[in-house]
Subunit: 284 residues, 2 copies
């Protein structure tokens, strides 16, 4: 595995690379969710096809709306290196912030529709930061495929839009959310949960599943408002502080008025200081 | 010469292309100024190096702040084809607007510092449109070199910033303004000048040169305010309507307080309905 630490080196490597390149952008603190992104992207490669897999680790300060969250974002670089080697990553790109952003950076990349609601409403500037860093990684790595996890459903919708609207010749591979044995969606932020919080967090996905099953098992469909109300009561009773809890169309992120095949039940909630998100398709 | 009319075909061509690619983005109505961009970029190629030159022709509606200007923008496609063939363009890319922009486009690329003054102040949204279309062309064509004309000095400063801040591995080649025999800076918009207006337009560059010579020939440097005042009087007397007339640092576009090696005297003025820009370095 080649470890590249500067944008200059990366450009040099990329200019010499004659094959197609895949990209898995991460902020490190790698877990099985990230590894499933690598697996998913590699599974698309034909046996006789030579491609390179670039995994980037960069805690992008511009996508943090909260300095406390940035400062507490976990970093486990030795373990990350081990996991990248095990996952047959070809190039690990770990740039420094001074290399990624000039002090007088003045160009922004903004998505002005899908990014306004849900996490975008609670985390102002977050998706602007995501769009900026993803554009930079696309330009440096010039991948033909990129993998993102479905846990960040809004990020996926926005990056798909970024790819379309900026004419990137890149295929986005959306990978199913990887979960712990008890159902909690894997997230680097889970490392920050106390033992008690960690145990309780499993109830988020259990509640989503229960809402889905209630809906699909009843002969008559529950209305969306009723699903939401019931779930909100359940989770609030467990002292989760709900940020949003709603059913949206998975592509447009607009409120779903009918329980169709695009209906995605989405939640963001706080457990103590830690914000967790999860989602479930209401029809599989 | 290969003529490519869709983004899909262009991506296919680019994915198969094993060599480095150069790009000259234009809005058509090609003239010797555009050809000098092709020559400048080709002159950088080593004799034994195989590269492809892509020239794009696309009248980008998003960079027009004025519908009248968009509707009257000249189009001379047969002549453009001839000139491209003569200039050894390898690929001519002429996309349709329906292919370039989805109806619900929601991603923007903005430069938020250099674009605020000068032409940016008079033409709101113009440079946002430029940044968007140039990003799209960069992503589709993936050039390693791109040529722009120095006549659009603000555009060059902004695209340099775009390249830096979005980490494009692209070298910008800034090419000297090509002029008519009487000194008028070549521009597709010159086609719209009446005979009388065309004759008078030559006086813009003559006035810039005169300001430069007054400055460099006097034993004591004239102050910038004085140069500006004198020039404004001269041109206003000729019924040019001045939009801006100032001395800026060629890189930062900030007002120049001393006549140093970066000092660029810039002008935008209207002659009838037609807006012309020009500039001159005060020290060569």
């Amino acid at each position: 595995m080649l470890i590249i630490k500067t944008t200059k080196e990366l450009i040099k490597w990329r200019n010499q690379c004659q094959h197609f390149v895949d990209l898995v952008p991460t902020m490190g603190a790698l877990h099985a969710g990230h590894l499933s992104l690598c697996e998913a992207i590699k599974s698309k490669t034909q046996p006789d096809e030579k491609r390179y897999l670039v995994l980037s680790i960069y805690i992008n300060p511009k996508q943090f709306d909260n300095l406390n969250d940035l400062n507490n974002y976990p970093s486990t670089i030795d373990e990350d290196l081990r996991l990248c080697r095990e996952s047959n990553v070809d190039v690990l790109f770990i740039p420094e912030s001074s290399d990624m952003y000039a002090a007088d950076t003045s160009v922004s990349v903004n998505e002005n529709c899908l990014s306004l609601s849900l996490c975008g409403a609670t985390r102002p500037g977050h998706f602007d930061g995501v769009c900026l860093v993803v554009s930079k990684l696309f330009n440096l790595v010039r991948p033909s495929r990129v993998a993102f996890g479905k846990k960040d459903f809004q990020q996926i919708a926005i990056i798909k839009r970024l790819i379309r609207d900026l004419s990137y010749p890149i295929e986005l591979i959306a990978v199913a959310t990887k979960r712990e044995a008890d159902g909690l969606a894997m997230s680097s932020r889970n490392l920050r949960l106390s033992k008690e919080q960690r145990a309780k967090s499993a109830l988020i996905y259990a509640a989503l599943q229960s809402a889905k099953n209630t809906n699909t098992s009843s002969s008559q469909e529950l209305c969306i408002d009723e699903i939401g109300r019931k779930l909100e009561q359940e989770l609030s009773a467990l002292e989760f502080k709900i940020d949003y809890l709603t059913v949206v169309n998975v592509d447009t992120l607009k409120s779903c008025s009918s329980l169709d095949s695009k209906a995605l039940l989405v939640i963001a909630c706080f457990i103590g200081q830690i914000r967790l998100i999860d989602s479930i398709m209401l029809h599989d």
